[in-house]
């Protein structure tokens, strides 16, 4: 009976897919048939299809396998079968990045793209684009130009889109196609217009003036002359996006309000466009502009309001989703739509209903929470996980806004936890509960209780591990820690090894923080030492022996606050140490500490359309560990010791100047490596021997300068200066350096970028002063248990205390933000969050000074006519504690 059932099931899911059980080796074997003298399309077509299917399923081919099958496939060019040929194009695209010598098909493809068979042409262009590298682009340039202005819209579109892709390889070559693109913009075909506008924008996007000209001209044609152009809603949507970007870029220098901008007026004029897509795009663009006033978004919001009453579900959905997104930034404006949103609560499309309710929750008053939550409960089981996550996020926002509602919300969340759902959904619930716990001490015990209950029956290992970790951290601080032990120990009995190991670690936290539980914990840990899994046994043995010592300092360093080093760096240091073969013990202090990752609620990049992303001129070096390689290649770098930390980017010029210089300060134990990224924005100049001359503060010493040999137009080059901190004089290690950019200018022809004459002349350019701050020299460290570390430091560290009056600060929040920024320390135990309506607050901070000196800081703040602060610094080094107290003031 059961056998019968299983068969039946297999039949069901195997049903439609003839390729389900294909195997790589078989397919590659079968593909040899392509090599036969006369091609049989009836046989080859299914085999090629299988190959494509397999590649799309993520099957990996080695370079040899890919090359063999690629060359076999090239022989199919002899067949005239249209379907087979089009499959070949697809095959070329799939294999182009893995196989060698793929340029072999260039002539075959150029022949097809210019040939008589229209069914081949567009597809051949796309395939050609995937096999062409920068060196080959010249060879096909002529064909691309012709294809862009081809009368067949499919060909023209394919060529335009392919050009866009190729612009990544060889922007300079594609720039030469601007006239063809310009011609294509005037095409009758709406797709061609759209793609042509996209390419034109891409070609010009690094030049703001050219972009604004492009937009202005397109707007004029759209509005006054060419009626047919108006038809391309796609092109109009793209124009709106470009215009919105221009408005943002103008932002900084704008004196009058946004509504004076012609671009803004253009976008608003699109509210009256025939196409709903355009109307929506315009409204979306306006509400997403940064720093808009409620007046500026008012009209857009009423457009969205209208759309939200449309009979078309897609429009209603788009409109409420957008309202939902802006509900936080413009609550008052969105409140105006409340009536319409109330109507949508009962929408038969559950996604729309969910968005409507969650929008109302975000903007609503405390009194409406209960009613809306009840409403959601009626259909939460019917919506997909993705929308459940939206509901959860709304609840999180509510809980932060109305802390008193935590019981209702928490109950709701725990009910959601008990339902079925995927990892992402469950994780978002757990995250929300954790946020609520951390934000609202009153909710802590109930929240933890819900989580305990949840892990009793949690199918997601990663989530269970996180919750166990949280229980270990928060449980010991509750009124009755013992009640959590049972939940944790149950996991040891019932779960898989990774959860058991996490449970052991959690129990050890209780042992280290709660002396009266220690004895029981030791008994449990002893049992865990008999576990079948090594990791679980190892942890149990490790914790049990540390807890046996009864030594607070050991608890602190090895149980409560664990190692903070960066793991890749530790691995590297250890392998270097092993190779050294020395008798010296390994110094853990020589390993760079890990940078504390930014919390997720930091400014998220707004998602942008593919085309309307920031231009190529933007200097955006990647973070710390990536720097290391680059820095290590510098001449003196090896002698500087391990890299300690890198600062944020500091701009030393205004953004719209001839030369743009940005600095990153890389700190080492005794040295600073200053990395200056320079951009030359003058197209008639080639700069050589570019360097930064520094006027350093007293005690600092310039060790070396590494100039940038050549800086052509529109390229970013890097020059370095290596500076040594004042010897043995930590108190003087903050300062201000004067900076001048020095270089040799060679005038050159803007078209070719080649210098007119060999001789150049010296020139210089004043930069803004460069500050070397405390924060540059301090790495943030996350202390999971700050209190324990502080207590231990009382007897072993140096302490300095001072009182300040921060008269320029008006609120506690402002003071907290500024202190953190100024000192560059990591806030612990969420003390960076100031509870509402309090007049005193204590900020707890931790970090490491270059050279590996620990720092703990407690700042007691009181609000009284400005903010007064009592600052207590504990550090292993007296002079660093002095430096910190003296730097403030």
């Amino acid at each position: 009976m059961s056998g019968f059932k299983r068969d039946h099931k297999e039949e069901e899911d195997g049903g439609g897919n003839p390729f389900q059980n294909i195997e790589k080796t078989t397919v590659l074997q079968e593909a040899r048939i392509f090599n036969e003298t006369s091609v049989n399309p009836r046989k080859c077509t299914p085999i090629l299809t299988k190959l494509l299917y397999m590649l799309n399923q993520g099957e990996q081919l080695s370079a040899k396998e890919a090359t063999d099958v690629f060359f076999a496939m090239t022989k199919l060019f002899q067949s005239k079968d249209v379907i087979l040929r089009r499959l070949v194009y697809l095959g070329i695209k799939e294999l182009s990045s893995i196989a060698d010598d793929v340029i072999i098909v260039t002539s075959s493809l150029t022949k097809d793209m210019t040939g008589k068979e229209d069914l081949y042409r567009a597809a051949a262009i796309r395939a050609l684009c995937s096999i062409t590298d920068a060196t080959m682009l010249q060879a096909i340039e002529r064909y691309m130009k012709q294809a862009i202005v081809d009368r067949n819209p499919a060909v023209s579109s394919a060529a335009l889109v392919s050009s866009l892709h190729m612009a990544k390889l060889a922007p300079e070559v594609v720039k030469r196609w601007v006239n063809e693109a310009q011609e294509a913009v005037n095409s009758e075909n709406i797709m061609v217009q759209y793609h042509a506008l996209g390419l034109l924008y891409h070609i010009r996007k690094s030049d703001r003036l050219a972009v604004s000209k492009l937009v202005t001209r397109s707007i004029q044609t759209l509005m006054y002359t060419n009626v047919s152009l108006q038809k391309s809603s796609y092109a109009v949507c793209m124009l709106i996006r470009i215009a919105a970007k221009l408005i943002e870029e103008e932002g900084a220098d704008r004196k009058s309000s946004k509504s004076q901008s012609p671009y803004f007026q253009y976008i608003e004029s699109c509210f009256r466009h025939k196409s709903e897509m355009v109307v929506y795009e315009a409204a979306y663009a306006v509400v997403n502009l940064n720093n808009s006033t409620s007046q500026e978004v008012a009209q857009a919001i009423s457009v969205l309001q209208l759309l939200s009453a449309s009979p078309k579900p897609a429009l209603r959905f788009a409109a409420v989703r957008t309202l939902n997104q802006v509900a936080i930034s413009h609550p008052a404006a969105v409140t105006a739509c409340n009536l319409d949103l109330e109507n949508l609560i009962t929408d038969s499309n559950r996604s729309i209903a969910t968005l409507a309710i969650t929008t109302l929750l975000k903007t609503g008053a405390e009194s409406s929470v209960d009613r809306l939550m009840k409403q959601i409960a009626t259909f939460v089981s019917e919506i997909s996980d993705e929308f459940k996550v939206v509901v959860v996020q709304a609840i999180r926002a509510l809980a932060l806004k109305f802390p008193r509602k935590h019981t209702v919300l928490m109950n709701f969340l725990s009910a959601m936890l008990r339902d079925d759902g995927g990892l992402e959904y469950k994780a978002s619930i757990a995250d929300t509960i954790i946020t609520i716990i951390e934000d609202n001490p009153e909710a802590k015990e109930t929240g933890l209780a819900h989580l305990c209950e949840f892990i009793e029956d949690c199918e997601h290992v990663s989530l269970a591990v996180r919750i166990l970790h949280l229980l270990g951290k928060e449980g010991p601080k509750t009124k009755q820690p013992s009640r959590y032990i049972r939940f944790i120990y149950n996991r040891v009995i019932l779960e898989c090894p990774s959860i058991r190991a996490a449970a052991v670690s959690a129990m050890a936290q209780f042992g280290a923080s709660c002396p009266d539980l220690l004895e029981n914990i030791q008994v449990l840990l002893a049992r865990c030492q008999m576990d079948s899994d090594d990791e679980v046994r190892d942890r149990a043995t490790y914790y049990s022996s540390i807890l046996n010592r009864q030594d607070k300092a050991l608890y602190n360093n090895y149980v409560l606050n664990t190692l903070q080093v960066s793991m890749p760096a530790l691995e590297k240091s250890l392998s270097e140490y092993i190779n050294l073969n020395t008798a010296q013990p390994f110094d853990i202090k020589s390993v760079p500490v890990v940078a504390v990752s930014k919390s997720e609620n930091d400014v998220k990049q707004k998602p942008e359309g593919m085309l309307i992303s920031s231009g190529p001129t933007k200097i955006s070096p990647s973070r710390d560990e990536n720097f290391a390689d680059k820095l290590n290649s510098l001449p003196d770098a090896q002698s500087l010791g391990p890299h300690f930390k890198s600062s944020e980017i500091v701009e030393l010029t205004e953004s719209e100047t001839e030369y743009v210089v940005k600095c990153i300060k890389h700190c080492y134990a005794q040295h600073l490596v200053l990395q200056f990224d320079c951009l030359n924005t003058l197209n008639d100049q080639l700069l050589e021997n570019v360097r930064v001359q520094l006027d350093v503060s007293e005690g600092f010493e310039i060790i070396n300068e590494i100039p940038c040999p050549k800086l052509p137009y529109n390229e970013t080059g890097t020059t370095y200066v290596i500076v040594k901190f004042p010897d043995g004089d930590i108190l003087n290690s903050v300062g201000t350096f004067g900076a001048v950019l020095k270089f040799i200018v060679k005038d050159c022809d803007p078209a070719t970028g080649l210098p007119d004459i060999d001789e150049g002349y010296d020139d210089e350019y004043m930069l803004e002063e460069l500050e070397i701050t405390l924060a540059d020299q301090i790495q943030k460290v996350n202390k999971a248990n700050w209190g324990a570390a502080w207590e231990e430091a009382e007897s072993t560290f140096h302490e300095i205390e001072d009182t300040y009056s921060l008269s320029s600060m008006n609120t506690l929040e402002e003071a907290v933000v500024n202190i953190i920024k100024y000192l560059g320390l990591q806030p612990a135990e969420r003390s960076d969050k100031v509870p509402k309506g309090k007049s005193t607050h204590t900020l707890l901070l931790a970090g490491i000074f270059r050279g590996g000196v620990d720092i703990l800081v407690r700042a007691k703040l009181a609000l009284a006519d400005g903010v007064t602060m009592q600052l207590t610094v504990r550090s292993t080094d007296q002079s660093i504690a002095e430096l910190i107290t003296s730097a403030i003031g």
Partner: protein, 189 residues
């Protein structure tokens, strides 16, 4: 092969398809030669250096030719060998006015003849001493001597002086090749 087909191909009435490989240094006139063989409708007016290869078809005396016109550029010569396996004939085009590179031609020819996919096969090779119209062109006899063609014992070969622009000499050569391939096919059956 079924009995009927055997009969048909033995009698030489059925239309057969054969693959030929067109090789030679760049600029020797391969694409021009192939273009000349094509039906008037399919001919192209402007020929550019080939990148990789291009597949062309033409008919000669009831035989359907599929020609793999390879690029002769140094960068792509290594790729010829991918197409050695399944061809029934080779057309080797030489620019007879390019005395300087005749040694390179010999080198490439020797590599071809030694290739495992070629050396065992009794495959006919047709040489075109192309660009015979140029003033400094060498005669086909001299070219045959320079390339040491007389040492090719195990394969039928033939050399024709040609002018691919006018078509002079091409017909004679390709007739020979057709004949050879036809013989080969009937022996195989």
């Amino acid at each position: 092969m079924g009995l009927f087909q055997k009969l048909v191909s033995f009698l030489g009435v059925g239309k057969k398809d054969v693959n030929v490989l067109v090789v030679g240094l760049n600029n020797s006139g391969k694409s021009t030669v192939v273009n000349n063989f094509k039906a008037d409708d399919d001919k192209v007016t402007d020929i550019v250096p080939t990148v990789g290869f291009s597949v062309e078809r033409f008919q000669k005396q009831n035989l359907g030719f599929t020609a793999f016109d390879m690029s002769g550029h140094g960068r792509y010569r290594d790729l010829w060998e991918y197409y050695y396996k399944d061809c029934q004939g080779i057309i080797f085009v030489i620019d007879s006015s390019d005395r300087l590179r005749l040694v390179v031609v010999k080198e490439e020819l020797d590599l071809l003849l030694q290739h495992p996919d070629i050396c065992q096969k009794k495959i006919p090779i047709l040489f075109f001493a192309n660009k015979m119209d140029c003033r400094e062109a060498l005669s086909s006899v001299k070219i045959a001597a320079a390339l040491g063609l007389d040492k090719i014992m195990d394969k039928p070969w033939h050399i024709s002086a040609s002018n691919a622009l006018t078509g002079e000499g091409l017909q004679e050569g390709v007739e020979w090749l057709t004949q050879q391939i036809r013989e080969l096919l009937s022996v195989k059956v």
